[in-house]
Amino acid sequence: RFSQNLREVAGRFLVSETSTHLLVFGMEQRLPPNSELVQAVLRLFQEPVPRTALRRQKRLSPHSARARVTIEWLRFRDDGSNRTALIDSRLVSIHESGWKAFDVTEAVNFWQQLSRPRQPLLLQVSVQREHLGPGTWSSHKLVRFAAQGTPDGKGQGEPQLELHTLDLKDYGAQGNCDPEAPVTEGTRCCRQEMYLDLQGMKWAENWILEPPGFLTYECVGSCLQLPESLTSRWPFLGPRQCVASEMTSLPMIVSVKEGGRTRPQVVSLPNMRVQTCSCASDGALIPRRLQP
């Protein structure tokens, strides 16, 4: 401002007017034991905007008739701080009304990873302006979702959380294979044990000191497929396949030659041994690991 060599830089403070709602869902015992979460859907009822308000909005801001709705999963940590994870964000029109569905599967996946006793599932719903900056009228203020305990007392339009699960008793794997029974096409997905003998391998001679061999596993068999009624409901799910869902490392002692001398060294090979086999749908969401 005081130097002729510097051009004035004007700072503009943009106020992000946001209306935020916190939805709390008690989840304990809502998900059946030994079940797989396929999809969690949050349904919010968007209330119709009065005509007078719509007319006023059209007059004041003819090009802005949408608002951004963002769903975040909120977690309170043991140290009192909180963290949010973005789950969904989309534009909604102020002219629309009725049920809006948001896929919150990832939020429920995160919640399942919390240590017990688990806090309720907290979903933060924010309604913001479509664009920040001058000249945009606050259309977002017209987007309202019905809350719990509506004045009519009927609870119509209350936020709803739909949980779609598969019973793993039918659709899951069976653990370890029966060593007595041969594996056929009809065998249900299981973990088959076998022995890998390193001593019989030429390349391992004098190099691998430990172990001489080890038990290894592979996932064999087939999985029960979803009936057509469910595949049409969840078209994003492909066929269910028997796959290794958890792996563990394989430690070894090898001999290493350095400067004419040989010394033993420990190495750990990651993701070498199958820990668990599961039936998983091709195309299903791979849950993100919860950060501490």
Partner: protein, 55 residues
Amino acid sequence: LTGEQILGSLLQQLQLDQPPVLDKADVEGMVIPSHVRTQYVALLQHSHASRSRGK
């Protein structure tokens, strides 16, 4: 899991192009020091523990 996969992973881990050729004389009489064996056993136990947790 095949022997070839283990070989590939080992070469990658040790940053080698091919497995070293070691004579029997190189490893004959070699004693694995206790700290190396302890480290190996700890990794084995860790691997086993994580498998139990998985169940």
